[in-house]
């Protein structure tokens, strides 16, 4: 971007000068923004075009919509258990992201603000454990959950709760480090003065720290939500009943066999799947955009 900023300034007349100064200071930023948006949007446009394509095949789909048919959507609802998949995913991702953020915020608070024996070891262990991808242990997980299903069918295979518990296993490793980083940026004087004023450690956490990191909680919560929606490898092993599948597992099955013919339905499902994540993002937008610790520094 610096090349734009250093671009030679035309100096033929005052208007040109003002215009090129505008370009050097603001205009190039818009150019970058427009190019980035174009890069971001064109595959999504293709999906939209495929979803509206009356033929519903991959080979007949172009970048811009060639028709406006809702046939792919009606097929999706009548021929597949899409509604079940959608609700399963929403429930699983919603609960899993909320709980996992809460668990890792608790741990991040301890790691950031307290000094105790084993703190360094704990932090390092978390980092190391997370390097081992959970799904690589899928054979072990499968054997463990076979026993769990025998004992407690309510949290076994083909239930969202078994998968939920498994996702919670990865909660600490995934977000604790990130959140500890943001807790560390909050000035210590804030909670020290609260402690002096008689606040308990729980009050410091819930009344002072959590509100101050709300923006980053929103961001990480959003990431966890999207991550759960997209998780495929483990969910594919856990959920085999048509009605207990999540969106990722169900829709993968849709194009596993007949990719070309089902592409329209698949694209329609992709658009509908995007709705919850886009909605969540819009709801949290305020937190994401607002300054991370703006209030804290001034207070």
């Amino acid at each position: 971007m610096t090349t734009y900023a250093d671009a030679p300034v035309a100096n033929r007349n005052a208007t040109g000068k003002a215009r090129s100064r505008w370009f050097a200071q603001v205009g190039w930023r818009h150019l970058v923004g427009v190019l980035a948006v174009a890069f971001s949007v064109f595959p999504i446009l293709f999906v939209l075009s495929a979803a509206l394509n009356p033929l519903g095949t991959l080979s007949s789909t172009e970048l811009l919509p060639t028709g406006a048919s809702v046939e792919n959507f009606t097929n999706l609802f009548s021929r597949t258990a899409f509604v079940h998949w959608f609700l399963n995913s929403l429930l699983l991702a919603g609960v899993a992201s909320f709980v996992s953020i809460f668990l890792s915020a608790l741990a991040a608070y301890a790691f950031s603000r307290m000094r105790f024996v084993g703190r360094r070891v704990g932090l390092l262990t978390l980092l190391l454990i997370q390097m081992f991808p959970q799904f690589l242990a899928i054979v072990a997980i499968f054997l463990i959950f076979t026993t769990v299903t025998d004992l407690w069918p309510a949290i076994g295979f083909n239930t969202p709760w078994g998968l939920f518990l498994l996702y919670m296993g990865g909660a600490l490793g995934a977000n604790t480090w990130l959140m500890k980083g943001f807790f560390d940026t909050l000035p210590k004087e804030l909670d020290e003065s609260a402690t002096m004023d008689g606040a308990t450690h729980a009050q410091v956490f819930f009344r002072i720290m959590l509100p101050l990191v709300a923006p980053i909680l929103a961001v990480t919560g959003l990431l966890a939500f999207i991550g759960s929606i997209n998780e495929f490898i483990i969910a594919n092993v856990f959920l085999t009943n048509t009605e207990s599948k999540t969106l990722a597992v169900g829709m993968f099955g849709l194009v596993a066999g007949e990719r070309n013919n089902n592409f329209g339905m698949f694209a329609a499902g992709t658009l509908l799947t995007a709705i919850p994540t886009v909605l969540v993002f819009q709801l949290l937008q305020r937190y994401i955009v607002s300054g991370l610790t703006a209030g804290a520094v001034k207070g």
Binding site: Q25, W28, A110, R119, P133, T200, L247
Partner: protein
């Protein structure tokens, strides 16, 4: 690691920590007026602990019923520990760490250790169970129809869904008319009152079973052919869909010589405890073996066996390139755009932001499949849009570039998002001060903004590297590791170690869980080393700038 990370520091620096160990007697509780028990806190505590107790009791009954006393003991100790932890006023850090740690141990650490232990075995297809299981499997699979063996009328049934439920053979003895149900576990008699038998001897209905009709049965004929019901004298197998015969096992285990003998050919296979299989004098191995510890054999094979080590290191190099490329490119692009849009004079940044992060809002598993189809050489969007005829996933380098491009598209909105967040956290006074001092935008970026950004985002970049190092979806849903060289069907040009491992464990060539676990330990070691190095560098950086 630097020492700042570690160890007990003076309690004055730890606001959350009560001065419990100050040596004061218990009566000093009133003096600690800075930590009173609040009513809300007490109610929440009671409710949550009640919930824990409820769950523990609910979980205990099946354990008692199954007689799993070790599991019950773990449950009791965990519950008691939780009660102690949240009722005592000590161990404050543990109160915050334990909830997540419990899940971590149960669902991450334990499976990982379990997996690690299989790396030292030959666990996999043909080596799944114990030696006794292998002997039973050898004997039942060698069952042959011999002259004079009994023929039964057969109905195929299941207790579950006709298309997927486990199969059961319902057979009628021609001499006695008794009906028995048999599966891989053996044969047991059914009460005559519970079954309806047709005049031909075929069972047409049975309590608790669904009889498969001809269409359903023929759809599952491979499973029916493979189902062997062990009987005292041999085993029961199907012959077509309506008849079954009781055959005799040709091969039998002889405990005296610890070997398997074939009564027809007279050949013997002697048990080899080192490899977990029965081996004949001419070197022939029986397909059914058992699981044994092979020590570090899997590890030495990866390092020294030229058929494995050569492609392994090639994959390793590309794996690094992929992880560094994915992380680096997405970070550079995301940060560049975040910087461009981060200006007080900029209007419409919200609109840009909403549209920019759309790739992030889209479900990535679906978009990976969409990108694969966009790179399709025949009717893909990329070729038709630019008038190209490139077989993107057919050539090694075009496939690699395509995969990286897809990664860039998927990943840069995230980097943009976190870079924007971190930029907003940097006080504007700092950059203003540099421009007052006469620094150029580049100098100000290089010496103020970038270091501060890196401090905030380093852990995230390390995490992103580690994530991409094992990003199985990115490869598996696009190229599936291909293209493959004709002389090497196990390692493709875009294979990551993890997709290579996945193919070892679940691929078409048969499961090699032991080997797959070994490779996953190598992956773990590599990523852990890289992360540890960058981690210590981050610490040093933080010391400098904080």
């Amino acid at each position: 690691m630097s020492t700042s990370l570690s160890g007990p520091e003076p309690a004055t620096q730890a606001p959350g920590r009560e001065p419990v160990r100050s040596g004061l007697p218990r009566t000093s509780r009133d003096a600690r007026n800075h930590a009173p028990i609040t009513a809300t806190g007490l109610i929440v505590k009671v409710v949550l602990l009640g919930l824990v107790a409820g769950i523990a009791i609910w979980a205990a009954f099946p354990l008692v019923e199954a007689g799993m006393w070790i599991g019950l003991a773990i449950l009791a100790v965990t519950t008691a520990g939780l009660f102690y932890l949240y009722l005592t006023r000590r161990h404050i850090p543990a109160k915050y760490l334990v909830p997540g740690t419990l899940f971590l141990i149960a669902f991450q650490v334990f499976p990982v250790l379990y997996t690690a232990s299989t790396a030292f075995t030959n666990f996999g297809d043909g080596h799944r169970g114990s030696k006794d299981d292998a002997i039973v499997a050898i004997q039942t699979s060698s069952v042959k129809q011999v002259p004079g063996s009994t023929e039964y009328a057969l109905s195929i049934a299941t207790k579950g869904d006709p298309t997927t439920g486990p199969l059961v053979f319902l057979v009628t003895d021609p001499k006695t008319g008794e009906v028995s149900a048999g599966d891989a576990g053996g044969l047991r008699k059914l009460d005559a009152a519970e079954v309806t038998v047709s005049p031909t001897g075929k069972v047409t209905a049975a309590n608790g079973y669904t009889i498969l009709n001809f269409g359903q049965a023929s759809g599952r004929s491979p499973e029916i052919t493979n189902l062997v019901v062990p009987t005292p004298g041999g085993a029961l197998r199907s012959n077509g869909l309506s008849r079954a015969y009781e055959g005799k096992a040709v091969r039998a285990y002889d405990a005296g010589c610890d070997c398997v003998k074939d009564s027809e050919t007279g050949k013997t296979w002697t048990a080899d405890e080192a490899t977990g299989s029965f081996v004949a004098a001419d070197g022939e191995r029986l397909a059914q073996g058992w699981k044994v510890n092979v020590g570090v054999q899997n590890f030495s094979r990866v390092l020294t066996d030229p058929d494995i080590s050569g492609p392994f290191f090639g994959t390793l190099v590309w794996n690094f390139a992929f992880a560094i490329g994915s992380t680096g490119l997405t970070f550079l692009l995301g940060m560049a755009i975040a910087l461009a849009l981060h200006s007080p004079r900029m209007k419409g940044t919200n609109l840009y932001r909403v549209l920019l992060i759309l790739p992030y809002a889209m479900p990535s598993f679906a978009m990976l499949l969409v990108w694969r189809d966009m790179f399709n050489s025949d009717f893909g969007l990329v070729n038709s849009l630019f008038g190209l005829h490139v077989d993107w996933f057919g050539e090694a380098w075009s496939a690699r570039s395509a995969v990286l491009l897809v990664q860039l598209w998927l990943g840069y909105p995230y980097m943009f998002l976190v870079a924007t967040g971190a930029l907003q956290a940097i006080p504007r006074e700092l950059t203003e001060a540099t421009s007052v001092d006469g620094a150029s935008p580049w100098q100000s970026f290089k010496s103020v903004t970038l270091p501060l950004l890196l401090v905030a985002l380093s852990p995230l970049l390390i995490a992103s590297f580690a994530y991409n190092f094992n990003n199985i979806n990115a490869i598996w849903l696009t190229t599936e590791g291909g293209p493959f060289a004709p002389d090497n069907p196990t390692n493709g040009a875009t294979d990551l170690l993890i997709t290579y491992t996945y193919r070892l464990a679940f691929g078409a060539q048969g499961a090699e869980f032991g080997m797959a676990a070994t490779v996953s330990i190598f992956i773990f070691a590599i990523v852990a080393t890289v992360s540890a190095i960058s981690f210590s560098r981050t610490r040093r950086q933080e010391d400098v700038y904080s």
